[in-house]
Amino acid sequence: MGQILTAGTRAPEFTLRVTPDQDLSLSDLRGSPIILAFYPADWSPVCGDQMTLYNEIRPEFQKHGAEILGISVDGVWCHQAFARHNRIHFPLLADFEPKGGVAKRYGAYREGDGVCERALFILDRAGVIAWAYLSPIAVNPGADGILDALENLSNRGEKQ
């Protein structure tokens, strides 16, 4: 298991497919706190629960002005079917070609398995990693850590 990028590091810029005909760049969201949720795979039980949970909690993230992005190595069509099935309303990015290219830059790729780690990053409004967490692959990390980190960001005076 590698080392994920740590707090204080500038978040590497990327552009990934988010729908079959749309790209999303990290810089498009600059100015808002961003939650990057790397996860191993669409459809696996734990991921489903984790993304479903974030879907429900999204209004709380938005109270902090934050947007959440899910990232896995699944392709856009897979993401589309997964999002429809679970009524997921936030973007799922396809780190598909080159496979895991973005995950590798965040230290969140599992070489042997060919999937993303289950890793969470919170970026502040300037695009610097404010909080990073690597979860055991089989454990849904929930959202308590995310909400605590977003609160810390807000308290740090990010509101101005």
Partner: protein
């Protein structure tokens, strides 16, 4: 691991001994099949311990994948406002396989509750804030799916079956015994 962040308080629904030495808190979703499976287990555990155990149920509806979960939670709260929370709680779980809005109204009728008042309460979302508060408290406590149990504020990671729960609660009760 995060523990229970929201202590048991006046807005909670409580069964068993109010001043019991040990408290079991469940975060549940009325449409979640795992919660449905846990329901008879919890009932049997409550029967086993009687006044020695305090049980609290809090709502954690995943409404995007369980379309009736939020309404069911609000209906239980409505029943709670008329001192029928636990009766409704049981009826919902016992009828989980055919959960629907008309069924929830029939359950209210069966408990002698006004369907007109229930319709108004659901339309005005009277109990939505309470359900959401439960949900957010759960999220802040690290709840990541249902059912999640906390035993005296600590997350219960064991099996959800009678023997395992009874053993865990027995251990807590023994720890709570004043040592001579």
């Amino acid at each position: 691991m995060t523990g229970l962040r929201v202590p048991v308080g006046p807005s909670d629904h409580i069964r068993g001994g109010r001043d019991a030495p040990t408290t079991l808190v469940e975060y549940g979703d009325y449409e979640c099949p795992h919660c449905g499976a846990a329901y008879p287990v919890v009932e049997a555990v409550l029967g086993h311990f009687g006044e020695r155990l305090r049980f609290v149920y809090r709502h954690f509806p995943l409404s995007e994948i369980h379309p009736h979960a939020e309404t069911a939670a609000e209906v239980a709260e409505f029943a709670g406002a008329h001192d029928e929370f636990w009766a409704m709680h049981g009826l919902i779980f016992e009828n989980q396989d055919r959960l629907s809005t008309p069924l929830l109204f029939r359950l209210a009728w069966a408990l002698g509750l006004s369907q007109t008042s229930l319709r108004e309460a659901l339309q005005r979302r009277v109990y939505a804030a309470k359900v959401r508060a439960d949900f957010i408290g759960g999220v802040r406590s690290g709840v990541n799916g249902t059912p999640t149990f906390f035993l005296d504020g600590r997350r219960y990671e064991g099996l959800i079956d009678h023997a395992a729960l009874v053993a865990a609660i027995d251990t807590r009760l023994a720890e709570r015994q004043p040592h001579p």
